[in-house]
C-alpha cells in the first residue's frame, strides 16, 4: 500500500506544479467538562510555479475521526413483535466524517478518484467481508450513514469551500459535542475535471484534558480503585443528603 502510494507520488511528481499551503484555526481540540463542540477553520493557498491553468480548480476537504468497527442491526417482525433479526458487522467506520467541497461532489471528483482516495462518505466506510452477512449490505451501510448524519457525525458539505482567484480557499467544519478522542486526519485535495492534481494531509488532535482525562485514565488503568471511588462518592452523597435533611427538619 505504501509502495503504491510512493509510486503514485513519483508518477505525479512532474505534474505537481500546484501545492497546498495550509492553515488551521486550531490543530488541537481539548475536550473539557463543558465541551460543546468546536468549529475549525481550515484555510490555505495554492502555491504554484506556473501560470494558472485554464481548467478551473476545485478543492475537496475531508476531516475524519478515528475508525472503529461497527455492528448495524435490523429489526423485523417475528410473532407480532419487533426483534433484531439481521446484523452486519463493518470492519471500520469513522466515528466522525465531514467532506467539504467547492461544488457538487460527483462533479469535482470522479468515481475512480473517489474509489482511490476514499473521499465520499460511503467510501470512507470499510466493509470488507460484510457481503457474506446479509444479502443487502448496502441497506445496512445506508442506514449507518443516515443515522450518523442525523447526529451530525457525518456531514456532506457541498459548495461550502470558498475559493478565491483559484488560489485562496477556506471553509469551516463544525465538530459536534459528542466527539471520540483521537487523531483526526484532515485531507485537502485539489482537483481538475474530477482528477486529483494535488493532495495534502495533516491531522487535528482531539483529546480529553483535566478532570475528564484523569477520570478516563483512572477508569481504564485502575478500574477497582475507580469503582470503589464511585461507590464512596455514592455513599457519601447519600449520607450527606440524609444528614442535611435531618438538620433542616430540626431547624
Amino acid at each position: 500500500m505504501r509502495l503504491l502510494a510512493l509510486a503514485l507520488c513519483l508518477l505525479a511528481l512532474p505534474l505537481k506544479a500546484e501545492e497546498v499551503v495550509l492553515g488551521l484555526s486550531r490543530d488541537k481540540v481539548a475536550i473539557t467538562a463543558t465541551f460543546e463542540g468546536s468549529e475549525i477553520l481550515i484555510f490555505g493557498a495554492v502555491k504554484r510555479e506556473v501560470a494558472i491553468p485554464d481548467i478551473p480548480l476545485d478543492v475537496v476537504i475531508t476531516v475524519a475521526g478515528p475508525s472503529l468497527p461497527v455492528s448495524v442491526r435490523r429489526k423485523d417482525r417475528r410473532f407480532g413483535i419487533w426483534v433484531n433479526t439481521d446484523e452486519v458487522r463493518l470492519d471500520a467506520a469513522p466515528t466522525f466524517y465531514a467532506v467539504a467541497t467547492t461544488g457538487p461532489l460527483d462533479q469535482v471528483l470522479s468515481a475512480t478518484e473517489d474509489l482511490r482516495h476514499r473521499v465520499s462518505i460511503p467510501r470512507a466506510i470499510r466493509s470488507v467481508g460484510a457481503a457474506s452477512m446479509a444479502e443487502d449490505v448496502e441497506n445496512f451501510t445506508e442506514a449507518l450513514i443516515r443515522i450518523r448524519r442525523d447526529q451530525d457525525a457525518y456531514q456532506l458539505l457541498e459548495n461550502t469551500v470558498a475559493l478565491d482567484e483559484q488560489t485562496l480557499f477556506r471553509t469551516a467544519i463544525r465538530l459536534p459535542a459528542n466527539l471520540t478522542e483521537g487523531i483526526y486526519p484532515t485531507r485537502i485535495f485539489l482537483t481538475r475535471e474530477g482528477r486529483v492534481v494535488s493532495q495534502f494531509e495533516t491531522a487535528i488532535d482531539v483529546h480529553k484534558v483535566g478532570l475528564e482525562r484523569w477520570l478516563f485514565t483512572l477508569s481504564r488503568e485502575q478500574p477497582l480503585v475507580y469503582g470503589l471511588m464511585s461507590l464512596a462518592i455514592a455513599i457519601a452523597a447519600g449520607w450527606g443528603a440524609s444528614a442535611a435533611f435531618q438538620v433542616l427538619r430540626r431547624g
Binding site: I233, G238, S242
Partner: protein
C-alpha cells in the same frame, strides 16, 4: 449547561440529568424501589450508550438507596434480619443471573429477552398490585376491617426465625428464595429489583408495607454496589460524572420521597406504584409491537463487538 461525560463520550444537559435524578429519587424514597427500571430506559432515550447507562445507573441507585435507608433507619422501619436473609439470597441469585446472562449473550437476542422480561414482570406485578390495592381502598371506604393474615403453606416450612421488626415468625426458606429470584432478575435486567422485591415481601411474606420499603432499600444497596464494581472492573462503563449528576438529584429526591411516603396511606402508595409500573410496561410493550420509525440500530465498536 452542557456537560461532556468522560466515559459515555457524549455531551448532555446537566440540569436535565439533575431533574431526572430528582424524580427517580422521589420515587425511590416513596416506594423503596431503586428506580432503575425507570431511569435506565430514560437514559437510553437521552442518548447515553446502553452499557454505560446500565452500569452508571447501578452506582446511582447505591446513593439514593443509601440516602433513603438512613431515613428509614431513623424511623426504625428496616428489618435488618430479614434484609440480611434476602441479601444472602440476592447475592447467590446475582451470581446465577450473570451466568445465565452470559449464556444468553452467546446465543444472541439478549436485548429482546431483557425487554420481554421487563414487559412480563412489570405487567404481572403492576396488574396484581393495582387490583389488590384497589380492593383494599374500597374495603376501607366501606369501613370493613382488612382481612386477617392467613396462615398458609409459607408458615408450615422448617427453619423458622423470628423477624421482630416485621412482626413475623416464619421459615427462612421463602425470603431466601425471594432473594435468589430477585437477584437473578436483577442481574439479567440490570436493575436493583425493588419493584419485584416490594410486592414479593408484601404478598408472599406478609410483611407490613412500612417495613418493606426500608428493608428493600437496605438489600438493594448491597446488590447494586456489587453490580457497580463488577461493571467498573470488567466493562469500564461506570461514568462517574454522569453518576454524580444523577445522584445529587437522586439523594435530594429520595429524602422528599421518604417524607411524602409517610403522608400517604399504604394502599394509596401501592396503587401509585402499580400505576407507574404499568405505565413503563405499556411503553416497553408498545416499542415491541409498533413498527419502529428506524428499523436499523448501531451498536458501536468497542463494547458492542461481542
Amino acid at each position: 449547561m452542557q456537560i461532556y461525560l468522560p466515559i459515555a463520550e457524549v455531551s448532555v444537559n446537566a440540569f436535565l440529568l439533575l431533574g431526572l435524578g430528582g424524580i427517580v429519587g422521589i420515587l425511590s424514597g416513596m416506594f423503596g424501589v431503586g428506580g432503575g427500571f425507570l431511569m435506565t430506559p430514560l437514559l437510553f432515550f437521552i442518548g447515553i450508550p446502553p452499557a454505560v447507562a446500565v452500569a452508571t445507573e447501578a452506582n446511582q441507585i447505591v446513593a439514593s438507596s443509601f440516602s433513603g435507608v438512613l431515613a428509614h433507619f431513623r424511623r426504625k422501619t428496616v428489618d435488618l434480619r430479614m434484609g440480611t436473609v434476602l441479601l444472602i439470597g440476592g447475592l447467590i441469585g446475582a451470581a446465577i443471573g450473570v451466568v445465565i446472562f452470559n449464556y444468553l449473550k452467546s446465543q444472541g437476542q439478549v436485548d429482546l429477552l431483557v425487554k420481554l422480561c421487563y414487559v412480563v414482570f412489570l405487567g404481572v406485578i403492576g396488574a396484581m398490585m393495582f387490583v389488590e390495592s384497589l380492593r383494599a381502598i374500597r374495603q376501607t371506604r366501606r369501613g370493613a376491617l382488612p382481612a386477617r393474615k392467613k396462615h398458609g403453606w409459607v408458615h408450615r416450612l422448617p427453619f423458622k426465625m423470628r423477624f421482630r421488626t416485621s412482626g413475623l415468625y416464619i421459615s427462612v426458606i421463602p425470603p431466601m428464595i425471594v432473594g435468589v429470584f430477585v437477584g437473578i432478575l436483577a442481574a439479567i435486567m440490570g436493575v436493583g429489583g425493588g419493584f419485584i422485591m416490594v410486592p414479593a415481601m408484601i404478598y408472599l411474606l406478609g410483611m407490613p408495607t412500612k417495613v418493606v420499603v426500608g428493608t428493600s432499600l437496605f438489600q438493594i444497596i448491597f446488590v447494586t454496589a456489587f453490580t457497580t464494581l463488577l461493571h467498573a472492573t470488567t466493562n469500564f462503563t461506570v461514568d462517574i460524572a454522569l453518576a454524580v449528576l444523577l445522584l445529587v438529584g437522586g439523594v435530594v429526591g429520595a429524602q422528599f420521597g421518604a417524607m411524602l411516603g409517610t403522608r400517604l396511606r399504604a394502599e394509596q402508595l401501592r396503587i401509585l406504584l402499580a400505576i407507574m409500573v404499568l405505565a413503563v410496561c405499556g411503553k416497553l410493550a408498545l416499542d415491541l409491537l409498533l413498527t419502529p420509525s428506524e428499523l436499523y440500530s448501531i451498536a458501536s465498536g468497542a463494547g458492542g463487538g461481542h
